[in-house]
Structure formats: C-alpha cells, structure tokens
C-alpha cells in the first residue's frame, strides 16, 4: 500500500502568524494569495525560494517556510536569475515593490528579454511605503506624495507593457482584491519562462490619506490611464536556464583550457636579453607578427614576453608590440630602452619618441625609407630596401620582422616560419610566409 504524501496546508511560518504591515495594507492580501497559490501547487518547500527586494515587502520572506534570499534594493531579480541559472529545477518567486521596479529597471528588462524562469510579484502601492511615502515610477500623474507635494509631474511606468514587449512569457495586471489572484499566481509559477504580476494595492499609511484614495479610486486610476487588466500575455518561448543547457550539451565532458605546450625544436645563439619594439599601424599585423616572433623564440628554447598597445578603437591608429627574448625567465616586462626598434609606419613613429631618445650606439633602429629622415637617435639606424624585395611591400610587419630575425641572428628563420604556420589561419599564413621569403634581401 502506498502512503499518500502529507498535504501541505500552509506555507506560512506559523511562528510569525501576524504580518508586520499597517492595517488595511495590500501586502497582507497579496501574501495570503501567494500562500494559497503555493498550497494549490503543493510545491516542495525545499525546492522553492522567495527572493525579496527592499521596502515593506522586503520583510515578507520571514513569514514563509521556504528558502529565502533577502538582498539589496532593486536587485532581487539578479539574485533570482543566478539561483535559476544554477538550479533550473527550483521554483523562484521574487517579491518586490514599485520602488524596486524603478531602481532595478534594467534587471526587469533583461529578465523579460532572457525569459528566465522566475516569477515576479510587484506589490504596486504607487509610492514608497517604508521611507515615508515618496513617489515611485508607478505613482500616477498628479499623485500627491512626500516628494511630489504639488502633484506628480512624471508619467507612470506601464510595467506590464514593458515586459510584454520584451518577451515575458506570462503577464498579468490586477489588484490585491482580485479573487482570481491565487490561480493567476499559481499559473505564473508554473509558467516555464519569465512571469510577472503587477498587483495594485493600497498603501494605507501614505498614498491613501495623501490622495483620498480607496479601492474605487484604484480601479478608476487604472482605467483613466488606459491600463488593461487581467492576463495580458501568454507566450511560449524557450526558458533561459534550460536553453543554455540545451545549447551547450555538445561541450560537456571536454577539458576546459587544455595546455598548449610549445616544444623546443631549434637552437638560438642569442646570448643577451633582447628587447624589441615593433611600431606600426593598427590592422597592419603588428600584434600577430609579434606573437610569431615570440613563438619562434620559444621554439628555439628562449623565454619570451609580449605586450601590445593600441588605441581602444583597435582598427585604426597605431599598433605597438613589445617583445622581450631571453635565455632566462623575464620579470620586468617594460621596454624603456629597446635593443631593437622597428618603425614601419608613421602611426608607429608617433608612439616611440621616448624610446628613440633613450637608445644609444649599441642599439639599432630599423626603419622604412620614407620615415628614415624623421628619425633622430644616437642608435644605429638601418634602412630597409624594399626595391630588392620580390613581393613589394605587402605584409610589411612580417617581412621586416623576418629580416631582423636573420639580421640580428635572434634565432633560426625556420622557427619563425613554423610559428607563422602554427599560430595563424592557413590562408593568412600562406601570404605571410611569402613575405618571409621576400624579406631575404631587404637588409
């Protein structure tokens, strides 16, 4: 014989039978409706979490025997999203006021867009109840509050339209007096995607006395504003936490960030630590060439570092890469005084005046002919001669760097070639290897 599980008759915390709210406050009714919905659904309390925002409604979680997360003002939806993403099987219910709606508006939009499977109950009493009756984003035009003594000049936010147009799965507007509210809350909780209920209610401490407001005025205001009530949207789009897992099912079991070993295959005669700066233009392969320079050095048993500098726009302006090659591990990664400075475009030249000033006779500046006259330095100056290059000036960064690998005897050119083949897309590598071939006679 199977024993039927015990029916849960209430989800209220019976040690706290009495709510802390003002007499007549709508929160009391809505929480009772929430309890009725939970009883109707017979949810497992351990698989259910109430996430509360701030304000009077923020105290609500303490009156229920389910898991609770009471966080910061306006951020309840973010915690709920994290909980649901981590544990899609949980029932996640957010309780927030119209205050939280305003300060956390960005999160509301994103929750609807993402269709994350949480249920948001907005306890919408048209003002801030806890801090003294100030106006909120839902205070009607003309509404008198502590912060709008002459009547509210702002238009109220239509939260239902906002989340509906952004893809919410279930949207309902009503009042704390609605008889159908337990059923609607239950429907929202069982909706797989994002569900929101905008529940209008009376704040008997502030909005009611300040505006001679009652249940009738509440309904009247909704009508005057042209805001529809009832179920406003039912949609069946994929829910985020499940869609994420479905999308990523193919990745499961693969090793994250596997090592990418670089084997030593060549020998380098380089004795002293060599600091190299490549100064060129964005989009001119400076960064990828510097990577190949460093990788080739590693194939040759050297240690390397690479720092790249470019404007935040990435695709225009200068691009400067710094590469240090050494027989030992490199600690200080800056290059105040390069051993080799390669200047291949005017943009690059603008970035290296300090280095040019710092360099001395033991160091070398390699420069394209058209910029040679603009360079003042004590360092040795070597000018590329592209007239001897078979391929012209294509892939300038690669061609000049290849020439320097050979000229400065950094390491075998074969290692540089291999680095290009290993680290770059095949079609680009082919083009760059041609530039390496063409580099032979430019110095």
């Amino acid at each position: 014989m199977q024993i039927a599980p015990l029916e849960i008759t209430t989800y209220r915390n019976l040690e706290r039978a009495k709510y802390p709210f003002c007499p007549g406050c709508g929160h009391t009714f809505v929480l009772d409706h929430l309890n009725a919905a939970l009883v109707k659904l017979q949810l497992d309390p351990q698989k259910t979490v109430i996430v509360t925002d701030i304000g009077c409604v923020g105290m609500s979680d303490q009156y229920f025997d389910v898991n609770a997360f009471h966080g910061l003002h306006g951020r309840a939806i973010t915690y709920a999203t994290g909980i649901k993403l981590a544990r899609p099987e949980l029932n996640v219910v957010v309780l927030m006021g119209d205050g939280g709606l305003g300060i956390g508006g960005a999160h509301l939009l994103s929750a609807a867009r993402r269709n994350i499977g949480i249920t948001v109950l907005v306890f919408n009493n048209l003002n801030f109840g806890m801090t003294g009756g100030e106006h909120s984003v839902t205070t009607p035009h003309g509404g008198v509050t502590a912060s709008t003594r002459g009547g509210n000049l702002e238009r109220p936010l239509d939260v239902c339209a906002t989340v509906s147009v952004n893809g919410a799965s279930f949207v309902y507007r009503g009042t704390a007096f609605d008889k159908e509210l337990p059923d609607r809350i239950a429907e929202a909780i069982t909706t797989p995607g994002f569900a929101l209920l905008d529940i209008w209610e009376l704040c008997t401490a502030y909005y009611v006395p300040n505006n001679k407001f009652s249940k009738n005025e509440l309904l009247q205001t909704m009508q005057t504003l042209g805001l529809p009530s009832g179920v406003l949207q039912r949609m069946d789009n994929p829910e985020l936490s499940r869609a994420y897992r479905e999308q990523n099912v193919g990745a499961l079991g693969r090793t994250p960030l596997p090592p990418e070993p670089i084997e030593k295959k060549y020998d380098s005669a380089l004795a002293a630590t060599t600091r190299i700066v490549l100064a060129g233009a964005a989009g001119g392969k400076v960064k990828s060439t510097a990577s190949a320079l460093a990788l080739g050095a590693m194939y040759s048993g050297l240690w390397a570092t690479q720092r790249d500098d470019y404007p935040t726009t990435v695709m225009s302006g200068y691009s400067v890469s710094e590469v240090i090659l050494s027989r030992d591990e490199i600690l200080y990664m800056g290059i105040a005084k390069p051993d080799i400075l390669v200047i291949i475009t005017p943009e690059g030249l603008t970035q290296v005046p300090r280095q040019l000033r710092a360099m001395d006779e033991t160091q070398t500046v390699y420069v394209v002919p058209e910029l040679a006259d603009q360079i003042e330095t004590r360092a040795r100056k070597i000018i590329f001669n592209f007239e001897r290059a078979a391929a012209g000036k294509k892939s300038l960064a690669v061609m000049t760097t290849a020439a320097i690998v050979r000229h400065a005897d950094l390491y075998p050119l074969a290692a540089f070639r291999e680095a290009i083949s290993a680290g770059q897309r095949a079609d680009i590598a082919v083009e760059n290897l041609k530039a390496v071939d063409a580099s032979e006679r430019i110095l």
């Binding site: 698989k47 898991n67 966080g71 544990r87 960030l257 050297l302 591990e329 600690l331 990664m333």
Partner: protein, 376 residues
C-alpha cells in the same frame, strides 16, 4: 612544459582547478579576457557562465548561484568594482563565498582603460560601507595567478566571504613563456556543510570567530540569506545583543584568523640594511632590482606580499627588524606604503620608509628601485 599564456588564462585555469562552476561578469577592459574564457569553457564542466546586463546584475547572479552551492567567480576593473560595492557588503553580511578579480587600471572614473595601475589597493580594503575586513590576494607571476586563484576559492569557501584577487592590466594581458609543469595544484577546500537532520540555523556559530555551516538553497534543509542586520536565524533584528554579536562575528571571523591569512615571500639577505616591500606586477621589478644590487656586491632584502588584506603584519614586522630603510614601489601614491609606515612606527630602531610611485601608465623600472638601494 613551456606555454605562452597570460594571467587571464592562468586565473581561469586556477578557477577550474578549484572547482569554479559559475561565472557572471560584464565586459570591461582589461578584465574581459577572463569573462570570455569562463563563458567559453564553463559549459564543458556543466558550469554556467553568463554576461550580465551590468556589473550589479553580474555580481547579483553570482550571489544567487553561490547560495545554491555554486563556486562563483566574477571579474572586473575599477569602474565595475565601484558598482559591485553594495553587493560586496551583501556578500560580507550574508556570508556568501565568492571570488572577485579586480584587474586594476588607471583611475579615477573611466581613467585609462588600457593603462596599468595599482590604484585600487585601499579601495579594495574599504570597498563597501560599514568598515568590515576583507581578504585580498595579489599574484606577481603567471604561476601565482594559478595558485592564488585556487587559494582564493578555498578561502572564500572556508570563510564564507568574498575574496579578491587584486591584479592589473599587464598581469592579465601580457603574454609570457611559463613552465606550466611547475604550476601548483592546491588541495580543494569546500564550505562546511550543515549536519543533516534537525533544525538548521543559518548563522549559528559556537564562537564569534567561527564560520557558520552552509545549507544550499534547494538542499535538504531550508535556509535563509539576508543583507539586513540579523540574528543567527537570519531574521531582521534591532536587538542590541544580536546586532552586537553579528557585527563582531563578521569582524572576528577574519581578524581572529589573520595569521593564517598571511601569504608572503621573504628573500632576506644576512646583514642587509635595505628591504624592498612589493606586490603584484611591481614585485617583478623589485626582484630584478634586488638581483642587480646583489650582483653588484651590495646587500639587499625583499618581501613580496601575496596577501594584501588583511595586512600581513607579522611578516612585515619580522622582515623589517634591523632594517634601516624600506623601499615600497607602487603604481599609486603610496597606498601600501602608509601601511608599512604604520608598522615601522612600532619598531625600534624605526626604519625609514620611502616610496617609488608611478601613476603615468608605465611600469616602475628595476633601475628606479636600484637607485634607492644604492643610496643606502
């Protein structure tokens, strides 16, 4: 095995080694490389990685996930850390394990997005309202990015607290050859689970300095988290005795264990009168300066700080004994130097403390430090 990687890769590998299974973040230079790696790699281990609509949402999602038992991490830079501030307070008071990487860039405000800095050192210490202690680690090598990230997760779990990794643009984005066989795998520590059965009291501890046991949302026992001042059951309270207990617990749980939270590397030379105290990217220049100084036949000592907060008082005091000059190089206006000065005041004889400050976006050169050794 040699590899050519950056600090972002090593931090991400460290996170996986420590069991990280949740990441939320918002793109910001120079922390984005961590976000991209975590989002790409987490699905391989059944983890979840998401880009939030802003920094506030990103850390909020981490807190929610962490309370279901996830090991969560986020990464940002100064402007994002500013937006994390209030939620860091929630992580402290709600006792949520969380690892936060701060990739420092030049500030204030938007500052220099691609410019190196160590300007957040005191910001991290006092990162939220109320004045409670935090834990912050600071790697100065790729290998430490890997090992300290694992320690950060372990400490977050052990102390049920936010733990910071303070690093910078150069550590995250400069590629370096590194011998990854030497990467240190740290034994994983998990938060203490609540005993099964009986009523679970979410914030109950025997002693003020103890860490409460953890029950995840969605587990066998009902649990609560609150950002409000609370009693041991996680219920709002203004009762003086309960408020006092919770406040002192949040202080004691870190402060009483501060000796165990000291991570430093001392390289003392017998008879040296000068000590350089450094951390992060600047420690690399300091190490080179010490090597050059010794190679020139002079004496030099070095203390590298790997745990910025709580201040490693014991190591600082011991390393400064008998020293007449302390050099503190920093990419800020001497934020850590003022801590070192405070320790120096308690020593007899009292060492002179001098700084090398750079705030121009360039790294401090070994020569700038070496010159100060020379003057000694």
């Amino acid at each position: 095995m040699r590899e050519f990687i950056d600090g972002a890769e090593a931090i991400a590998r460290g996170a996986f080694a420590a069991g990280c299974n949740f990441f939320a973040g918002y793109p910001i230079t120079p922390a984005t490389p961590i976000l991209l790696r975590m989002l790409r790699e987490l699905p391989k281990t059944s983890g979840v990685g998401i880009q939030g609509e802003d920094e506030i949402a990103s850390i909020g999602m981490c807190l929610g996930a962490a309370m279901t038992g996830a090991k969560a991490m986020t990464a940002t830079s100064g402007p994002g850390l500013s937006l994390y501030s209030e939620n860091i307070g929630l992580a402290i008071t709600g006792e949520v394990p969380l690892v936060i990487v701060d990739v420092m860039r030049l500030g204030p405000a938007t500052g220099g997005a691609t410019t190196v800095s160590q300007g957040d050192v005191q910001f991290l210490r006092w990162v939220t309202s109320g004045g409670f202690p935090i834990i912050a680690l600071c790697p100065s090598s790729i290998a430490e990015c890997y090992s300290l990230t694992q320690h950060a997760f372990n400490l977050a779990e052990r102390f049920r607290a936010p733990v910071f990794i303070a690093t910078d643009k150069e550590m995250m984005s400069a590629q370096q050859s590194v011998n990854t066989d030497a990467f240190e795998k740290i034994e994983i520590i998990n938060r203490v689970a609540a005993p099964a059965g009986g009523e679970f009291v979410p914030y109950q501890t025997k002693k003020l300095a103890d860490i409460p046991a953890f029950a995840p949302i969605g587990g066998e026992q009902l649990t609560r988290l609150t950002g409000s001042m609370h009693d041991e059951r996680g219920m709002l309270t203004k009762k003086t005795s309960a408020v006092n207990k919770t406040s002192r617990h949040l202080w004691q749980k870190i402060q009483a264990h501060r000796d165990e939270l000291e991570f430093t590397k001392l390289d003392a030379q017998e008879g040296a009168a000068t000590l350089v105290v450094s951390y992060g990217i600047t420690a690399r220049s300091a190490t080179e300066a010490v090597r050059h100084t010794r190679a020139a036949g002079k004496l030099a000592s070095s203390l590298i700080i790997q745990s910025l907060w709580p201040l490693p008082k014991r190591a600082l005091r011991e390393s400064m004994r008998g020293i007449s000059r302390v050099i503190v190089p920093e990419l800020n206006f001497g934020q850590y130097r003022q801590e070192v000065e405070r320790i120096a005041l308690s020593l007899d004889p009292r060492p002179e403390v001098i700084g090398v400050d750079r705030v121009d976006g360039e790294l401090i050169t070994p020569q700038e430090i070496e010159e100060l050794f020379g003057r000694g």
